[in-house]
């Protein structure tokens, strides 16, 4: 082993630089320039220190939540651009190689899928739950604030590996599911699958920890009187998602770890020869993969439940039904994984059982849709942006659900499996389902987090572009799938596909505009923030506890822990004239001090992942040592919390109450006018 090998492992200039296609080079340059620009800006405005001490090392669940969402939005931008590139390729690749080399196209669908699931959707919903759930249950923080920061660090490390892979070397071509034997050394000897393995492993460990943290928080940190059946529905969905994370992420970690053993240690878990069996990987992967789709969708269901109720000015219809339906979905989601491989050769009866189990999930899902509908029934509906997303969701999700049940018929799946019909189906549930839910959540909770409302017009533009873009981009894929177009195809040879791929490309263009619109939405809103301030904290005449405090909330959330006597506690308080009371007594509040452990473990994760990927063993070992050292060092830290004295809490709370007294309550007709300062007229509507 030469010194060079020792120092750089497999990393050579040739292998590293992304010169295999001009487009990849350009993409890498954009990432590098973007990163440099961020560094320059941070330096110029002297923001490094506040970034480190107030954000990166913060253990405040609200800040961690916001950082998760920022991560998700950054990764969303990359993944959407990649998606549009793929659609553009298929628009021009009828009987022609198009503009993307086959290998580059394969990296695109792999990075797009991997990012969208692990580094867009998961951080997004984790961020939203992190922000809203503790506030909704009346908690001061999650149960394990440090663990929360560690989860974020690990997830961000995975995302960083994804970005590094764009600039150094190449990524896997094995799809987001990374099926061996294709991802084994025999067929993919390059670094691609290793990048994939470590990015996904980091994210899966982060998500397992998150699941534990959230579940414990919901069980242990609820305010007095907040019985489980008094929790807002969003908290129920958060609970179910967390439980799913706890049980579903480990099979994925195991699958990627075994694949890593195959690739690094010459094991034969999933190789063709040597007693390996690819079917074990496929089972493990989907043992994670199917619950995963419910991890993704349930929090969005929770958001829609809040949105329908708030913007219909009405309590949620069929709360218990919705809770039972959510639980049923969570449990059933572990019993259906086989529907991802009906075509693997098992017997017809096995397929039938799993097909029917899958359809059973359609029942609680159908129930939910009708419960939301009946929440609107006899309400007073305001077409605010979150409600628009919710309406779009219900209509389009009905179609996505239907095609899901179509796919659950093994007899039909034999025909449409692995075609773009499937691609259409899962985007049909993920875009109107998950993504719309998350965007609705942003519009809904943003004023709480930052103290001002987001621009409604741009919000509507985002909604229109994403809806139209989605319909144009994905409805044609149902057609293409029935016509037999396989997924992950860089080029095709049937003229009949042509018109549909062109329509889909048009849709993708709209979606790209939709992405820009998201940027404009945030940008314009920040510029106009002074017109849209809601310091009183309740811009939507909200029903649940998070609206009962200032916007943005104090670090400790609640000046005094609320007492809960029923569902929709804050609405009860407002109607009963019991909101915004001055408590007799304040208490000292203990809050966690910031800690560098999370970011350090993240850095250790990057070093480990990068070192392992490139066989730079000293770096991998260094990363491992850094992580162990960090944990040991932390165990010597004695002061991990600080006390906010009762007097200070009193001052802050009274100052806010004083401001409240000066605000004029806004009626719902003023909801999107500057006169909505976050104090709602307590007339129930």
């Amino acid at each position: 082993m030469t010194l060079n090998d020792w120092l750089f492992g497999r990393l050579t200039v040739q292998a590293a630089l992304p010169f295999y296609s001009a487009i990849a080079t350009a993409a890498a340059s954009i990432v590098v320039v973007g990163a440099l620009a961020v560094v320059v800006l941070l330096t110029k405005f002297r923001l490094w220190r506040p970034l480190w001490s107030e954000w990166l090392t913060s253990l405040d669940h609200k800040r961690i939540g916001i950082m998760y969402v920022v991560l998700a939005l950054v990764m969303l931008s990359r993944a959407v651009v990649e998606a549009v590139m793929m659609r553009a390729q298929q628009a021009v690749s009828y009987d022609s190689p198009g503009y993307l080399p086959a290998d580059h196209f394969a990296q695109l669908f792999t990075t797009h899928g991997t990012i969208m699931i692990f580094f867009m959707a998961m951080p997004f919903l984790t961020g939203i739950i992190n922000y809203a759930m503790p506030l909704q249950i009346g908690a001061r923080d999650v149960s394990f604030p440090l663990l929360n920061s560690v989860s974020l660090g690990l997830t961000a490390a995975g995302a960083a590996l994804m970005m590094i892979s764009l600039c150094i070397g190449r990524f896997s071509t094995g799809g987001w599911s990374g099926y061996p034997p294709f991802t084994e050394l025999a067929f993919s000897p390059d670094v691609g699958p290793d990048y994939w393995i470590w990015a996904v492993t980091l994210s899966s460990i982060g998500s397992t920890l998150t699941g534990i943290n959230f579940a414990v928080t919901i069980y242990k940190e609820r305010a007095p009187g907040m019985h489980l059946f008094r929790m807002p529905l969003f908290c129920w969905t958060a609970l179910c998602t967390s439980i799913l994370m706890i049980f579903a992420m480990p099979p994925l970690t195991v699958a990627t770890a075994l694949l890593a053993l195959d690739r690094y240690a010459g094991a034969h878990f999933f190789t063709n020869g040597g007693g390996g069996d690819v079917m074990n990987y496929i089972n493990l992967f989907w043992l994670f993969g199917h619950p995963e789709v419910y991890i993704l969708i349930l929090p969005a269901f929770g958001v829609y439940s809040e949105v329908f109720s708030t913007f219909s000015a009405k309590a949620l219809y069929g709360y218990r039904s919705l809770v039972y339906a959510t639980m049923a979905i969570a449990v059933l989601s572990f019993t259906v994984w086989l529907h991802h491989f009906f075509t693997m050769g098992q017997g017809a009866n096995v397929n039938a059982v799993f097909g029917i189990a899958t359809m059973l999930i359609g029942i609680p899902t159908g129930v939910k849709i009708y419960d939301w509908l009946l929440t609107m029934f006899r309400g007073r509906i305001r077409f605010a942006v979150p409600l628009l997303f919710a309406l779009g969701f219900i209509l389009m999700f009905a179609i996505g659900g239907m095609t899901g049940i179509i796919l659950a018929n093994p007899g039909i799946d034999y025909q449409v499996h692995n075609t773009v019909f499937l691609v259409a189906h899962f985007h049909n549930v993920l875009i109107p389902g998950l993504l719309f839910g998350m965007l609705a959540a942003v519009q809904y909770w943003f004023p709480k987090a930052f103290g001002f409302r987001l621009n409604e017009k741009w919000g509507r533009t985002v909604f229109v572009l994403w809806t139209a873009g989605f319909l144009f981009a994905f409805m044609p894929l149902y057609a293409l799938g029935l016509l037999g177009l396989p997924r992950r195809t860089v080029e095709y040879f049937q003229g009949a596909y042509r018109p549909w791929t062109l329509i889909a490309a048009f849709g993708a263009l709209l979606l790209l505009l939709g992405l820009f619109a998201v940027g404009a939405w945030l940008f314009v809103s920040v510029r106009q923030r002074d017109d849209n301030r809601v310091p009183a904290g309740d811009p939507w005449n909200g029903r649940t506890l998070e609206w009962s405090m200032s916007a943005p909330p104090p670090e400790y959330n609640f000046a005094v822990r609320p007492r809960v006597t029923g569902r929709d506690q804050f609405m009860r308080d407002k109607l009963g004239g019991m909101a915004y009371l001055r408590p007799d007594e304040y208490e000292d509040i203990e809050i966690p001090l910031g800690s560098a452990v999370g970011p350090l473990l993240g850095i250790a994760g990057i070093l480990c992942g990068f070192g392992l990927t490139w066989h730079i063993w000293w770096m991998a070992a260094g990363g491992l040592l850094l992580s162990i050292g960090t944990v040991i060092a932390r165990s010597f830290v004695r002061e991990t919390t600080r006390i906010v004295p009762a007097g200070e809490v009193r001052l802050q709370h009274e100052a806010w109450l004083g401001r409240l007294a000066m605000e004029r309550p806004a009626s719902r007709d003023q909801e999107i006018a500057p006169s909505n300062r976050g104090l709602a007229l307590a007339d129930g509507s």
């Binding site: 071509t173 079917m279 017997g347």
Partner: protein, 300 residues
């Protein structure tokens, strides 16, 4: 957005028109694909019972109960009505029950492993998935072809599949089901073509840089022409033995494989003789320790 079901319906209509030019399940050439299409239509129709009301009720409720100008009554605390629970849970239950009965009863009909009725004894074909081409061995006829599959019309075909490379999924959309081909394992598929013509077959499981080129020309022909195809193989005079098989198994495209055998890109790569037991030995080589497998390989 309210146009979504309309889109979907339009899609199905336009599709069945378009499909005339291509070959797919919407314009089936075999009994399996036809059954799948029928099942799809029934399933969609059944689910419309839950989906359509949503499409009516969402716009209706949104309009009637809108805050400004809406005419519906306002009952902020109306959150439960037992009479409504019955249809809300009952209708989806009934529909899923209907679908489940369909799955339970029909699934065995569409089971890829189930032999199909038809004219004459099933034609046996062994399929070896290679990167990036399919090898078809006709064990009884002792011929083989690569990237080309000739089958007689009306006669059921019984495929046995394995892979000598990545995992793949063998699929002829116009005829019916697809099934995975995996190394060291054997899967089965039964299809029957009911009309003459040239169809497209493909691998649907991504397996590398030339995945998109892994197509099969499927020729459905009358019995007499099938005999001519067999003769054509024999006239070609090639023998499929370990050495020629090694040439085929090189990880490359069909066109390259043809070139290796001195054929132009549109040439027909056929073998007039096949070493007995080749298929079993391809499977057995992934089980070096397994004596029964090895002996099965030798016995054939």
């Amino acid at each position: 957005m309210a146009a979504a079901p309309f889109w979907f319906a339009l899609l199905l209509v336009v599709l069945s028109g378009c499909a005339q030019t291509g070959s797919s399940m919407l314009h089936p050439w075999g009994m399996v694909a036809a059954a799948q299409r029928d099942w799809l239509v029934i399933a969609v129709a059944l689910m419309m019972i839950v989906v359509l009301p949503v499409f009516v009720m969402v716009p209706l409720f949104a309009w009637r109960y809108r805050r400004r100008g809406g005419r519906g009554v306002y009952r902020p605390n109306w959150t439960y009505a037992r009479v409504l629970e019955y249809p809300i849970w009952g209708v989806p239950v009934l529909i899923v029950a209907a679908l489940a009965v369909m799955v339970a009863t029909r699934e065995t009909d569409l089971d890829p492993y189930r032999p199909l009725p038809g004219a004459g004894a099933p034609l046996e074909i062994d399929v070896v998935a290679l990167d990036w081409k399919f090898l078809f061995i006709y064990p009884k006829e002792h011929v083989a072809s690569v990237g080309l599959l000739a089958i007689p019309r009306g006669r059921p075909v019984s495929f046995h599949l394995t892979s000598d490379a990545t995992m793949q999924s063998f699929f002829i959309p116009a005829l019916g089901s697809q099934i995975y081909a995996m190394a060291g394992m054997e899967t089965q598929l039964h299809l029957r073509a009911d009309r003459d013509g040239v169809l497209d077959g493909e691998n649907t499981q991504y397996n590398g840089a030339d995945f998109q080129n892994e197509h099969v020309r499927v020729e459905v022909v009358p019995d007499a022409s099938f005999a001519r195809f067999l003769a054509e193989c024999r006239v070609a005079g090639r023998v499929l033995d370990p050495s020629s098989y090694r040439m085929l198994a090189v990880r490359d495209t069909l066109v390259k494989a043809k070139a290796a055998f001195g054929l132009p890109p549109d040439g027909r790569l056929l073998f007039g003789d096949v070493q007995p037991g080749l298929f079993a030995s391809i499977i057995a080589k992934y089980h070096p320790g397994d004596r029964t497998m090895r002996m099965a390989g030798q016995a054939e």
